[in-house]
């Protein structure tokens, strides 16, 4: 029997060790969200800043030909772009401004629902405070000390910047003869074995052997053939033995 490090069947989930943030839905499902940290967010902001600068530059060049009318339009545009760029993109494009889209981020409410007008407006108006006293100083401090990396605007608006989910590719399990486990496995151990088989292609052969050797003794399998035995158990867990 393995040491019982994994969770018993009915135990409530412990908060994860990494930065994942669990949202419990009304159906009783825990959805893990992955909040984005300071660096990737500043990159996204930098991209947005560049795009805004480019938009304004081009528009001002065009409006310069319109004279007085152009000046009025120019002020309105400056206002619209500086205060509404983020809000419009976030609400109308599922929480993604172009910069965020580029970096694979999106904004959502911290209960996992899509962001709406009021929250988006708030978090972007309060950007003014995050900017203080210079260069996003307060925002950066707040972001660094918060468990889910919220800046002040995010705290007040109840929003969260997360990585958007990417399509998963089905991993190819290594070939092996399916067999049942020599000792009963609990839930966490089952998942660990399956993960070992699923992730094998990403690991170096030496590392695979090293990991398998660790398990040979507690699982009562032969050490030299540990890798193929473990793959066999994983296949056995998946399908008929």
């Amino acid at each position: 029997m393995l040491e019982n490090t994994a969770l018993p069947r009915k135990a409530p989930l412990k908060p994860p060790l990494d930065t994942r943030y669990q949202v419990e839905t009304p159906e009783g499902i825990d959805l893990p969200l992955r909040p984005a940290g300071l660096m990737v967010r500043s990159l996204a902001f930098g991209i947005d800043l560049g795009i805004r600068g480019a938009i304004l530059g081009v528009l001002f060049l065009l409006l310069a030909f319109l004279g007085q009318l152009g000046m009025g339009l120019g002020s309105l545009l400056l206002f619209a772009v500086s205060w509404w760029y983020m809000v419009l993109f976030e609400v109308l494009r599922q929480g993604r401004s172009p910069g965020k889209q580029w970096m694979g981020l999106r904004v959502i409410h911290d209960d996992g629902t899509p962001i709406g007008w009021s929250a988006s407006l708030l978090r972007n108006l309060l950007r003014f405070v995050d900017l203080l006293p210079f260069g996003y100083f307060l925002g950066a401090i707040s972001c660094l000390q918060h468990p889910t990396f919220k800046r002040l605007g995010d705290i007040a608006a109840g929003t969260l910047v997360v990585y958007s989910e990417r399509a998963l590719l089905r991993p190819q399990l290594p070939d092996a003869q399916p067999r049942s486990s020599p000792v009963p496995l609990n839930l966490g151990e089952q998942r660990a074995l399956l993960a070992f088989a699923e992730r094998q292609a990403e690991l170096s052969p030496a590392r695979v052997n090293e990991l398998a050797a660790l398990l040979a003794q507690p699982l009562h399998i032969s050490a030299p053939k540990a890798v193929s035995e473990l793959n066999g158990i994983a296949r056995g867990l998946l399908g008929p033995t």
């Binding site: 007085q68 009021s118 405070v129 496995l185 399956l194 867990l237 998946l238």
Partner: protein, 325 residues
């Protein structure tokens, strides 16, 4: 049940769900939306089963992604404005202002107190203006409101196209100030208090100075009209900011974070009302206040009527339950 059997049994259903999700996400076809919640809840059950039976990470992760996407489609926060803008203007906004009267009162006192205070101070001690405002700006102000020049607002003759320029300028400048006044309230209310006091100081000092040197007629007839909307909007933006700060200082029975979220939800509605006020103010300022053909008495009358209208709107609109709904 082994994982492969489980997958084989439900694979088709998951694929159908993925297709339905894609259609909803692109906002195209909502014909099958009625069956969506049922399918979504079945998927939740599958995910729970998969977790409970210790199936592989790949299966659980992909089911989790599907559930997350489904959750995004099924659950939304109800938007409180936008959907019925008219109801907001006719009833909800003035009601909210009355409900938040302590903050509105505090912000009003700070802003109008400092405005009136500094106006009287500068009127009584004319040299004081040079301690408050740089001499160049004072000179600009004087030339702007010089009764001899015969035009108002900014210098030079104003054609219709210039009214438009000024409209754009006022929108950008004033709404920017209101947004700053609101947002800085997050710093325990200190920022809002500062901006209320500071803006009151500047406006008051200019008003006191221009009245004292005898430009009162041109100045007051120019500002009285749009002032009704502009000044009350700044005070309301400050009130919204103070509310944010107060939620952090005295959160009551909630945690500070929760209290802040709660207060912010209401404040942002106030800010929307403020934005509306400032749009009206910019319009009046650009197209009415600057008209030189209208005699001052008419401007004073219209201005007074606008002040009364704003006061009556904030005090009485939306008192009867049935009217706007």
């Amino acid at each position: 049940m082994k994982q492969s059997l489980f997958e084989a049994r439900h694979k088709a259903e998951w694929e159908r769900f993925t297709l339905a999700l894609e259609r909803l996400e692109h906002g195209k076809d909502t014909s099958q939306a009625a069956s969506f919640p049922k399918v979504y809840r079945r998927l939740c059950q599958h995910l729970a089963l998969a977790q409970e039976r210790g199936y592989s990470s790949f299966l659980i992760d992909s089911l989790q992604q599907l559930v997350l996407r489904g959750h995004q489609q099924l659950y939304r926060h109800r938007s409180r404005f936008g959907a019925n803008l008219l109801g907001f203007i006719l009833a909800d906004f003035p009601r909210l202002v009355r409900a938040e009267w302590p903050f509105v009162l505090a912000a009003g006192l700070m802003f109008f107190g400092s405005l009136i205070g500094f106006a009287s101070l500068v009127y009584a001690f004319p040299e004081l203006i040079y301690n408050l405002i740089p001499a160049e700006q004072v000179r600009d102000m004087q030339s702007m409101y010089d009764p001899v020049a015969g035009h108002l607002g900014r210098s030079a003759e104003r054609a219709a196209s210039e009214d438009w320029v000024m409209f754009g300028y006022y929108v950008m400048h004033n709404i920017g100030i209101a947004f700053q006044t609101f947002a800085s309230g997050l710093l325990l209310g200190v920022g809002s208090a500062f901006f209320l006091f500071y803006n009151g100081l500047i406006i008051g000092a200019v008003a006191g100075h221009l009245t004292e040197i005898g430009f009162g007629q041109t100045f007051w007839s120019f500002v009285i009209g749009h002032g009704a909307f502009e000044l009350s909007a700044i005070a309301l933006a400050g009130a919204a900011g103070l509310k944010l700060g107060w939620a952090v200082i005295a959160p009551g029975r909630l945690t500070r974070g929760e209290a802040l979220v709660e207060a912010a939800r209401k404040s942002v509605l106030l800010v929307c009302g403020v934005t509306l006020f400032l749009l009206i103010a910019a319009f009046i300022e650009a197209y009415w206040s600057s008209k030189t053909g209208v005699t001052p008495p008419i401007k004073y009358a219209v201005g007074a009527a606008l002040w009364l209208a704003v006061a009556a709107y904030l005090l009485f609109a939306g008192r009867t339950r049935h009217a706007p709904e």
